[in-house]
Symmetry: C2
Subunit: 198 residues, 2 copies
């Protein structure tokens, strides 16, 4: 941020710019994300945009941070709510909530995974993965897995695998795999992997 908006109208403008940034990203894609278009969509001049954002990357970063915070919040809430349950029902509930967290803003998810260079979102993605890996590790400890390294390894594997499946299912909507089936199979994958004896 180049300077912090003091008056209410400038705060509102910054808000409009971020919202417009999201809209431009969805409507025109990553290549079509230009500062002139963002300013235009916000009903603001390019010069005003640069009063508060040092460069183009800065406003894109804010847009991406907003979105990934939202997704992370939904995912964390879903896990916190459901990690207490037991048996296969818990796996279903988690998978379902995970899909819901991604489906809630599928338009951004699509642009972000298909058009955006992954490096732009790597930081946020790693952070979320780490959070979820910690939760999964704790869950494994509850299951009686005593080796801490093994817990980390298995948590890493199951979290990355489930993440990928959820994202790809939401984006690709494979004809052969209904939503309910996807939930069941994702839960099954995680369940069999984590529960199987060594």
């Amino acid at each position: 941020m180049r300077k912090t908006p003091r008056q209410a109208r400038s705060r509102a403008m910054v808000e409009r710019l971020v919202a417009a940034g999201r809209d431009v990203l969805v409507a025109h894609g990553y290549d079509g994300f230009t500062t002139n278009k963002v300013a235009d969509a916000a009903g603001v001049s390019p010069g005003s945009l640069y009063q508060y954002f040092p460069d183009k990357a800065a406003i894109l970063d804010v847009v991406l941070d907003r979105w990934s915070d939202e997704v992370a919040e939904r995912v964390a809430a879903a896990l916190a709510d459901r990690i207490g349950a037991t048996g296969p029902a818990m796996g279903h509930a988690v998978a379902d909530a995970l899909l819901a967290a991604l489906e809630a803003d599928a338009a951004v998810l699509r642009v972000v995974t298909e058009e955006l260079p992954a490096a732009h979102l790597a930081r946020q993605r790693r952070a979320l993965e780490q959070r979820v890996i910690q939760l999964a590790g704790a869950y494994l400890a509850g299951l009686g897995v005593d080796d801490a390294t093994l817990r980390q390894q298995r948590a890493w594997v199951v979290v990355l695998a489930v993440e990928q499946l959820a994202v790809r299912w939401v984006l690709d909507q494979p004809a052969a795999l209904s939503r309910a089936d996807a939930v069941a199979e994702i839960a099954r994958l995680a369940g069999t992997y984590l529960a199987a004896p060594d």
Copy 2:
């Protein structure tokens, strides 16, 4: 291709251009992939580049096609060789070969997954996934899974999950997960998922 090279020296130049394209992509990243740099790295003028490639995307496409063909070839060969074996040893062998296929050109893998918009490689990636899904489906049929839809679903799940784990392991080299452990855990994930009773 704008026109096809007839003489030997022009064919050699096209070769040099494609090789230079790969090098520029690795050395300067996706953003640094400019036609001038590619021509320069190939010891050729920009004008000559445009004799044989209609635009920048065309030469990038060739570079990407080359690489993905190589990866696909290694993966397909690895699976064809090992799908006959039985028991957990087969899972290990496949996982190991898959990692090897990605490790063979990790520099391009890194640029392609971290900097390149995924859409540029979606076609090739889908094609490879489909090939492997077919193989996995056949393997499931051999295991006695009679429902063709279920075979498709499970093949989709296991292939995407394993793909993601292999790519991420090669790129991230997580400290807690040695190569041997990664092979074992990937095999375990696939094995428990596919072998578990319904």
